[in-house]
């Protein structure tokens, strides 16, 4: 169950990215108005804008935090063909007194000839490193050899992806068994059937990144891509936002079995595919344990996906920013009906303040109270009980069969990518 806290962002154009920092205490937003804002969470949970400054001379597509070990560092990338590294200045100043912090530009990465569409810091164990990708299909990997000197970045690798890139994601695994890996998504919308997700892996022998895999089944423009946090898993989970939400698992096959070049081969499965957004999916984001995926689409909803013990991914929540039920043709009535009681009771409990701005799906109501207790003893706790979910799907399926909550029951097996 979620409570929406609306924030007056006061950006003068679209916000393209939101990013939490490592500890979840700060948030950065970037917008087409060429500015980046930093928000700090106060004791009572409110978000206060502590910095807002013009970062680029074009739309700022993405903003990301570096690991705090390297300081309070942000990197942004923009339509103006640059990526910029920003650091918060520590020290007493007038700004501090006013509750404002000061950010200075440490470097501008100007190698791209076209719009820089995404930028991501590498996992911490790789050092201070970041990757950018640009609309002309080049992924660039930079490293700051001296972590104390944020103004010196050297271009380490340039990977040409052939397709206009829209998003990248580092494999966050800290295992030594997994070599550094980047997934690149393309929003190229020309009617070709090239794979829109490519995976590049660092090869120790050649000291270069080489293409390890391409997800052939993804042929529609990809807008976001995200590896799930790898908490000790032996395999990787990759979420792809394209015209639907897709979740892949990449299981590294053992090194001995792979033939030449030292590149890892992967056994790729598509474990879930949802078109519930009924439209373009723009963003995917994993929770910290990599067990819940949030996706947002053109329908203006955020949907949460979670796997149950069977590794069946299901919808566990629908969130909408402005308190209204999910809009969509005939479905609305049903939703309201099934929601009615739960909604009001909840509203009461919330004292009204922001109560009008949340929405939760019907499956929450049966679950909220009985989730744990109903299978108290012999069972693993994954909160998806078939029963409640079925009840829910019955509700949903009736007016609109496509809005199914349950994915195809056993889509574990097929679609082994052409290894």
């Amino acid at each position: 169950m979620f409570v929406a806290r609306s924030i007056a962002a006061d950006h003068r154009d679209l916000i393209h990215d939101v990013s939490f920092d490592f500890h979840g205490r700060r948030m950065a937003t970037c917008s087409s108005d060429q500015s980046v804002k930093v928000w700090d969470k106060s004791e009572n949970g409110d978000w206060h804008c502590t910095a807002s400054w013009k970062t680029h001379s074009g739309s700022v597509w993405r903003v990301t935090w570096a690991h705090p070990e390297f300081g309070q560092v942000l990197v942004s990338c923009s339509f103006d063909r640059t990526a910029a590294v920003w650091e918060e200045i520590v020290g007493e100043s007038n700004d501090k007194l006013r509750g404002q912090s000061h950010w200075v530009k440490r470097t501008t990465l100007v190698d791209s000839r076209t719009s820089v569409t995404d930028v991501k810091f590498a996992p911490k164990h790789m050092g201070l490193m970041l990757a950018t990708c640009s609309a002309d299909g080049v992924v660039r990997i930079y490293e700051a050899p001296d972590v104390m000197n944020l103004s010196q970045w050297s271009l380490q690798h340039e990977i040409s992806c052939k397709l206009s890139c829209s998003c990248i994601s580092w494999n966050p695994s800290s295992s030594r068994a997994h070599s550094p890996m980047i997934a690149v998504g393309s929003d190229d919308n020309s009617p070709n059937i090239l794979a829109k997700v490519q995976i590049y892996e660092y090869n120790e022998n050649t000291r270069k990144y080489a293409k390890a895999e391409a997800l052939m089944t993804v042929t529609d423009p990809v807008h976001d891509i995200a590896f799930a946090p790898n908490l000790g898993r032996s395999f990787h989970i990759l979420a792809v936002a394209t015209k639907d939400v897709r979740i892949f698992t990449l299981k590294p096959l053992r090194k001995e079995l792979t033939s030449s070049g030292g590149l890892t081969k992967f056994e790729i499965h598509i474990v879930a595919q949802f078109d519930n957004h009924n439209s373009q999916v723009w963003r995917v984001s994993w929770n910290i344990t990599g067990t819940v995926l949030a996706s947002s689409g053109d329908d203006g909803c955020v949907r949460l996906w979670k796997a149950n013990y069977m590794d069946n991914w299901k919808c566990t929540g629908i969130l909408k920013g402005n308190g209204s039920p999910v809009n969509g043709s005939s479905q609305q009535g049903i939703f309201n009906a099934s929601l009615g009681s739960a909604n009001t009771s909840l509203q009461n409990s919330l004292n009204g303040s922001s109560a009008s701005r949340y929405f939760f799906p019907p499956l929450d109501s049966p679950r909220a109270g009985s989730r744990w207790s109903s299978h108290a003893q012999l069972l693993p706790p994954p909160p998806l009980i078939e029963q409640s979910c079925d009840a829910d799907t019955a509700n949903l399926q009736y007016p609109h069969p496509r809005r199914r909550c349950v994915s195809r029951p056993l889509n574990l097996l097929p679609e082994n990518e052409g290894v």
């Binding site: 950006h11 939101v18 939490f20 087409s32 800290s174 344990t289 955020v302 929450d364 299978h375 029963q387």
Partner: protein
């Protein structure tokens, strides 16, 4: 020139048609200009001066105006303009300062008409008066503007900007006498053509040179300027002071600006360096170009709308020696590709979500023009039907969805991390404690795992069942639904209850037998599943009898049952005990709550290979009454792997640490390291530094162990002479005294040192605390009344 016959001022009935096309020029273009009938275009450059006709499918070269043997600098054009009244009249600005006019109506090959050599330096711009046929204006690098009457040999008037070089001059379209000039120092001047002595007004428009300006085609007051400061500004000149009403920030210095016909707020720009694209902006949305033409491979030098009244055709010339016709429907639209949403999961399970307001506004009736609040003026004018790119809401709503404790929040992680005991006590106690912690947080599966581990690894005799029962009782109290089982179990009491708990861990094994291989299922099992509660009661009763032996291996029970159950694994007493009874209970549960079954199934499925493996491999220990705990290692290992794959690395690492050597060998070093690093990273995210340090300390991985040994330096100063202690040890070389002595025990303090800021005496924290309970004076005897708070 028959084509010119069908000249129309307005587009009228014959709309333009064509496609995106280009042709190669022989040389880079500097400027282009279009004939007013939109059928021909002139391209001028240092080495080129040609007229092309614009056909349906291609450009066709009509005329080369560079004639004559010897190359003349007069042909080297910086600018060209085609008269909008007289289709035979052209003017060029030469780089040597000459202004040349051309008459296409001349019968000879050389169409050159007049030559004005009045400017001393390059002429940057020439401009015909929009309504006067004979009036030509030029602006030059030498800082002068000159007005020519084409009927005379010399200039009519000279305007001195008193500034730097003139970059652009433009006659106002509506005001007959007015023209604007832009300068390299950032100024814009407005002149009255009748008053060459001084400008009407002047204002600073940009930082650095203003390269171009363009009067709005409809609104007489609007002037757009573009400068090296990468900005396009729109000025309202109607007011007494020029007022900046819009400002578009582009990504490179602006070389040309051209208002788009029929679209009041659209303007096309191109840059003179770095950026080769042509952008069309909606000035009301100054951050994202509404259209973008990306064809050119080098800097675009000239842009012109093909027809005064057609907004869909744009011609451009470039340094890459091409001439392009761009069609609007082929333009790329960055807005469409721009991501309208941002989404991020926070550490604590909160979700930040930013989305275009029009996407999340549920009420479709609501006017989507939310952004218009800032621009109320646009309500006055109906949206131009020809504006292809509607001015839509361009603001986002940002909200954070906060989880409450119930659902997605990560509180359980923090609590578990804080409360788990990982070392310092006997294994059984650790397991019990951790089971209790897990139970308290409603994490039953984890609690069961801990209980199971305790059973497996602690020496069996030492565990008191009371202890276990205590924790379980507590657990059940917290879980009201368990009552349904408890009711049935009342006669069997605590024993069966604990059994039930214990069964949890082992039930997998047993379920596999049930589910995966029907051959292994014996009759009684089937009876149980089909029958009523009676067999279950019988079994429970059976359990009751064994109550005391719960954690001892029962010698008789297995043998007794062996006759009934013909399964090979039954030979193991422990397994039996665990296997059997739970099956009954499980059965009961099945009735109570069907999801359980599937849950068990799931688990069994995931563990099947291992289990069957263990079943086979253990057969050697058939008649032992106690199984070595090694025997369970594979199971435990797989349990840990299972948790890790489920994203619960916390359990995996905690078990790893608690079990230590018992399990370490079973899991390869790399995996362990991976778990440790993941868990430590998580702990650090939650700012649980002490716990992460404890984990590092307790870990058996070398790579992890040395994590907190890196880059830790300790600097010690002597407390007597206040100098840094140079050598290791606790005796200062200089004053030959022990440093940091405890005032109470007179030993060197190596751990926590507490001292009074008043007298600077201090010592072991414990000692000082104890001392101060009884005395308020400094233990060193200095007489200071110390206050340790």
């Amino acid at each position: 020139m028959e084509k010119m016959a069908r000249v129309t001022t307005a587009l009228g009935g014959n709309t333009l048609s064509g496609r995106t096309m280009f042709c190669h020029l022989d040389a880079p273009a500097n400027a282009i200009s279009v004939c007013r009938d939109a059928a021909q275009v002139v391209v001028a450059g240092r080495n080129i001066f040609k007229i092309y006709s614009i056909e349906e499918e291609q450009f066709v070269e009509k005329l080369n105006l560079r004639v004559g043997r010897k190359p003349s600098l007069n042909f080297s054009c910086a600018d060209v303009v085609w008269h909008q009244m007289d289709e035979n009249l052209l003017a060029t600005a030469a780089t040597n300062g000459v202004v040349v006019t051309w008459n296409l109506g001349k019968p000879s090959r050389n169409k050159q008409d007049q030559l004005f050599t009045e400017h001393k330096r390059t002429v940057n711009k020439v401009c015909f008066h929009p309504t006067e046929v004979y009036m030509l204006l030029s602006g030059s690098q030498d800082g002068y503007m000159k007005c020519f009457d084409l009927r005379k040999k010399d200039s009519v008037s000279t305007f001195s900007g008193q500034s730097e070089s003139v970059r652009d001059v433009q006659f106002s379209i509506r005001d007959y006498f007015t023209f604007a000039a832009t300068f390299e120092n950032g100024n814009v001047q407005l002149w009255d053509i009748r008053r060459p002595d001084r400008y009407e007004r002047m204002f600073t428009a940009h930082n650095g040179p203003v390269f171009c300006c363009d009067w709005h085609l409809e609104d007489r007051g609007w002037l757009a300027t573009g400068g090296r400061d990468k900005m396009v500004k729109v000025w309202d000149m109607n007011t007494t002071r020029a007022k900046e009403i819009y400002c578009v920030q582009t990504i490179a210095s602006v070389a040309r600006v051209k208002w788009r016909p029929e679209c009041k707020h659209h303007i096309a720009t191109c840059s003179m360096m770095v950026d080769h694209n042509i952008y069309v902006w909606d000035v009301r949305r100054p951050f994202i170009p509404s259209a973008m033409f990306e064809e050119h491979k080098d800097v675009t030098t000239g842009i012109v709308w093909r027809h005064l009244h057609d907004p869909y055709f744009l011609l451009s010339g470039s340094k890459d020696s091409t001439l392009y016709q761009h069609i609007f429907k082929d333009a790329s639209q960055p807005i469409d590709r721009a991501n309208p949403e941002g989404l991020c999961y926070s550490l604590y399970g909160d979700l930040a979500f930013a989305a275009k307001e029009s996407l999340i506004s549920s009420d479709s009736n609501r006017k989507p023009y939310i952004g218009d609040r800032r621009h109320p003026i646009f309500f006055k004018r109906k949206l131009d039907p020809t504006e292809q790119f509607e001015y839509i809401s361009s603001s986002s709503a940002l909200s954070v969805f906060e989880t409450d404790v119930e659902s997605g929040s990560m509180d359980w992680f923090v609590h578990t991390a804080k409360q788990y005991a990982l070392a310092g006590r006997p294994l059984a106690e650790l397991c019990d404690h951790n089971a209790k912690v897990a139970k308290g947080l409603d994490r039953n599966q984890v609690a069961q795992t801990w209980t199971m581990l305790r059973i497996i690894y602690s020496s069996l005799g030492t565990v008191s069942s009371a202890n276990l029962n205590h924790s379980m009782g507590k657990g059940s109290a917290a879980l009201p639904l368990m009552n349904s089982f408890n009711l049935k179990d009342i006669p069997s009491g605590l024993g069966s209850e604990s059994r039930l708990d214990r069964s949890k861990g082992e039930s997998r094994t047993e379920n596999i037998l049930m589910d995966s291989s029907s051959t292994l299922i014996n009759n009684e099992d089937n009876e149980e599943t089909e029958g009523s509660d009676v067999p279950a009661d019988y079994l429970l009763g059976d359990v009751e009898a064994d109550e005391d032996d719960l954690y001892m291996m029962d010698h008789e029970n297995p043998h007794a049952e062996e006759q009934e159950y013909s399964l090979p694994q039954e030979a193991f007493p422990l397994r039996h005990e665990i296997v059997d009874n739970p099956s009954a209970l499980d059965h009961l549960q099945d009735k109570a709550d069907s999801p359980h079954v599937s849950g068990n199934e799931a688990e069994t499925v995931s563990l099947t290979p291992v289990e069957s493996f263990s079943l086979i491999s253990i057969s050697h220990s058939l008649y032992e009454n106690r199984l070595p705990s090694d025997f369970f290692s594979p199971i435990v290992r797989d349990t840990l792997l299972f948790y890790a794959e489920q994203g619960d690395v916390q359990t995996a690492v905690s078990v790893l640490i608690v079990l230590g050597e018992r399990i370490r060998k079973e899991i390869d070093e790399q995996t362990q390291e991976h778990w440790y690093t993941s868990y430590i990273d998580l702990l650090q995210r939650f700012q649980l530094w002490n716990i992460s340090n404890e984990v590092i300390k307790l870990s058996t991985c070398r790579a992890i162990n040395c994590l907190n040994q890196a880059s830790t330096t300790l600097h010690v100063n002597c407390s007597n002479c206040k100098r840094p202690m140079s050598n290791r040890g606790w005796i200062c070389d200089r004053c030959r005294q022990c440093a940091s002595m405890c005032a109470v025990c007179h030993h060197v303090v190596k751990g926590l040192f507490v001292w009074c800021q008043g007298c600077s005496h201090g010592g072991h924290l414990q000692h000082i605390m104890k001392w101060l309970e009884t005395s308020s004076h400094c233990p060193a005897g200095c007489g200071h009344l110390c206050e340790y708070t």
